[in-house]
């Protein structure tokens, strides 16, 4: 057993209201500068939809993630040799048009335009070339367009549905969508790390955060194609790749990452998971439907004395083990099996998990009125958003994994309804709990962590480990007389 610790997260999609506050918090902090305007380390996309960058889930197009042929696990982009062969031109690399060309407006024209017959207008100009441009896409371009034939219909997961099901989804009364906020998954078997020719991308041993060494990066841009989630970005102005750093400078001083801290719906949970690094490869090689369960097996019980001993032997700090025992992520992912990884079939073993949204599934339409299904368990098959769609998103096609999570969520709901409003008897609620395979006390804990938990319970960061923090290796006086965050060197091309 080779125990490693990983800061991982759970996003509770039922609570996400799609307000993009997380995206803005991140943008203001990290990517509000030339060359990074188009980057959204945190973005919120509407599902069904094509996402950002457009069609990122289509790995036949981008060749991200891993593939198993026979007993061999290799990057979908190709083996080491063939990957290096693409160094002069990588056919799978998305271009800026797959995201959007960043733009601003010539606001000055509104004030400086000479007197004339027409109102002056602020023309849109490209933030790359500075020239006037036609805006064809922008951040969250398909926001809320869940029923659109342009965006939703092209969602790769939609191809898993029958034509009839698709047609049903686009019927106006049945139209349905939900939000998926996405950041870097800080994968255990990261595609970007494996694809980097320079070896510039690495996983931090202490907390599993995946970082790009800006000094070692040579701009070969393989990581951008190698990441199936398209969460590494190429800074066009400096020739370096950048990605979400899970706000490690904030974490090292005990604060929640900016997107977690600012989340209005309080959907985000952060905590430590201990996992067995010896099992990475065998886990990533499992068949698609087995992947969710296999990844769960890889995650270890932080209360198990054997695990604790092995973790200590591996140099995992006492504080980290303690944090792992209080981890809300462990409860959601392993104990309750409520949270599922996004597209586990990419085989990067992502360490960000999602509680699938209940509402778009259970609501049905009768006589033009939306109503919550009473007979939930028999109606999962007729769910408004087919389970097959959600299974293709969160479970490698394994519908039972998603259904299991829904049964538990529904049981918790019924239990709460029986306690707070009339109409559902305690008996019905208990029956639902039994059918979902949880006790009422467990349902109660789920309810508490879902609805009542404060910031300190939702975000459990190990106590400050000065001796391990990167901060103690860098010169603290370097930033004297500087306000707030900044880059140590201006991200600007100098040679």
């Amino acid at each position: 057993m080779n125990v490693r610790s990983q800061i991982s997260s759970v996003f509770h999609l039922d609570k996400c209201i799609g307000c993009h506050t997380c995206s803005i918090a991140c943008k203001n902090l990290w990517t509000d500068r030339r060359g990074a305007e188009y980057m959204w380390w945190n973005n919120v996309e509407t599902k069904p939809g094509t996402g950002y960058p457009t069609l990122w889930e289509d790995q036949e197009k981008y060749k991200g993630g891993w593939e198993v042929t026979g007993h061999d696990l290799h990057l979908k982009m190709g083996g080491r040799g063939s990957l290096l062969g693409k160094i002069f031109h990588n056919p799978h690399l998305p271009t800026v048009d797959d995201y959007y060309e960043p733009y601003t407006y010539r606001y000055g024209d509104l004030f400086n335009a000479p007197k004339g017959d027409d109102q002056p207008t602020a023309r849109p100009v490209s933030m790359i070339s500075g020239e006037p441009m036609k805006i064809e896409a922008g951040p969250n371009w398909d926001d809320d367009l869940g029923g659109s034939p342009i965006y939703a219909a092209n969602d790769p997961s939609m191809k898993k549905l029958s034509e009839q099901e698709q047609a049903q989804l686009f019927a106006l009364e049945r139209m349905v969508f939900f939000y998926v906020p996405r950041i870097c998954n800080h994968c255990v078997n990261a595609g970007c790390v494996a694809a980097c020719p320079s070896g510039a991308i690495y996983k931090r041993g202490e907390d599993g955060i995946v970082l790009v060494s800006q000094e070692k990066c040579r701009g070969w841009r393989m990581c951008v194609a190698g990441c199936p989630y398209k969460k590494t970005y190429y800074t066009w102005s400096t020739g370096k790749s950048e990605k979400c750093i899970l706000c490690y400078p904030r974490q090292e001083s005990g604060q929640a990452p900016a997107c977690f801290h600012s989340c209005v719906g309080r959907i985000r949970y952060l905590g430590v998971l201990l996992y067995d690094a010896d099992r990475i490869e065998e886990t990533a090689k499992r068949t698609d439907p087995e992947l969710v369960a296999a990844q769960r097996e890889m995650i270890l019980d932080p209360h198990d004395p054997e695990v604790i001993a092995a973790a200590r032997k591996n140099g995992v700090h006492e504080q980290i083990i303690k944090a792992a025992q209080k981890s809300p992520v462990y409860r959601f992912v392993k104990e309750w099996e409520l949270a599922l990884p996004l597209h586990p079939e990419f085989r990067t073993l992502p360490m960000l998990f999602y509680v699938p949204p209940l509402l778009p599934v259970i609501a049905t339409v009768e006589e033009g009125r939306t109503k919550l299904g009473d007979d939930f368990f028999s109606s999962l098959e007729q769910a408004r958003l087919p389970l097959r769609y959600l299974a293709s998103l969160f479970a490698g096609g394994n519908e039972e994994e998603v259904a299991k999570a829904y049964r538990k969520q529904m049981a918790v709901r019924l239990l709460r309804r029986s306690e707070t409003v009339e109409g559902i008897s305690r008996e019905v609620a208990e029956k639902a709990c039994a059918a979902a395979g949880i006790g009422t006390d467990e349902a109660d804990s789920i309810y508490r962590l879902t609805s009542l938990a404060g910031l300190k319970e939702r975000v459990v960061i190990p106590s400050m480990l000065r001796e391990q923090a990167l901060e103690s290796i860098e010169d603290p006086h370097e930033h004297r007389r500087e306000a707030g965050f900044g880059t140590r060197r201006k991200a600007k091309r100098r040679w």
Binding site: L93, S129, G199, Y202, Q214, G315, E467, W495
Partner: protein
């Protein structure tokens, strides 16, 4: 005197700059060390420019190095006319490919407004000097046959004399203007290397072939490890 300056002194200046400034840049400003790829901004023309440029020029460069490092072996290899013709024709074809690739790359820097927005003066300087280098190379291959043989008696001894710090410029001094231009221009590229995006040529990621795919780094080495 001019010959001594160009073939006896300038190469040392160029190499000194390459090594000195290269080391300075690597240790003081490693952040700037990048291939400065612009594929993200424009992909299609880059394919038709970058691929025909890089592969042929690498093979041609390798041939130049082999003839310099192993003159005897090289001479024996080309001792038969058939082999000589084959190599010359191949070299010429590759050079023409590289030339076309380079022209496409330059056209792309003008034609794409996005790419021209990230193009600097030194980028243009590098492209122009490279174009001149390939053009003179092709001209020499066409007019002064057979370059791959007389290289052994002119450039090879000259380069070895430079390497042994005993510069002998007479073999170069008698050569036609275009050959001289080709040689001096080559060292100009060496001099330009540390000041431009050319630095990426020494970052060939061969270690990728051998390293473990997943990289894990601890901020501090763990106890007992």
């Amino acid at each position: 005197m001019m010959d001594l300056l160009l073939f006896g002194i300038f190469p040392y200046v160029a190499v000194s700059l390459a090594v000195g400034v290269g080391i300075y840049r690597y240790f003081i400003d490693r952040y700037s060390w990048s291939s400065q790829s612009s594929q993200f901004l424009e992909s299609r023309a880059l394919f038709w420019g970058s691929v025909p440029w890089h592969y042929p020029i690498l093979i041609i460069l390798l041939a130049h190095f082999l003839a310099f490092l192993f003159p005897t072996g090289w001479g024996e290899l080309l001792g038969r006319p058939l082999r000589l013709y084959l190599l010359e024709v191949t070299g010429l074809a590759l050079a023409v490919w590289a030339f076309i690739g380079l022209v496409i790359l330059m056209a792309r820097r003008v034609g794409s407004r996005r790419v021209s927005a990230v193009t600097t003066v030194i980028d243009w300087l590098v492209l122009l000097i490279l174009l001149l280098q390939v053009a003179t190379g092709i001209y020499i291959a066409f007019t002064l046959r057979w370059g791959s043989l007389w290289y052994l008696h002119t450039a090879t001894p000259w380069l070895w004399s430079l390497l042994t710090f005993n510069p002998q410029v007479q073999t170069m001094a008698v050569l036609p203007l275009f050959v001289k231009l080709h040689a001096v221009n080559a060292f100009l590229l060496v001099a330009l290397f540390p000041f431009s995006r050319l630095v990426h040529v020494v970052s060939i990621p061969v270690t990728y072939l051998g390293r473990p795919l997943q990289v894990v780094i601890w901020n501090r080495q763990r106890d007992g490890r």
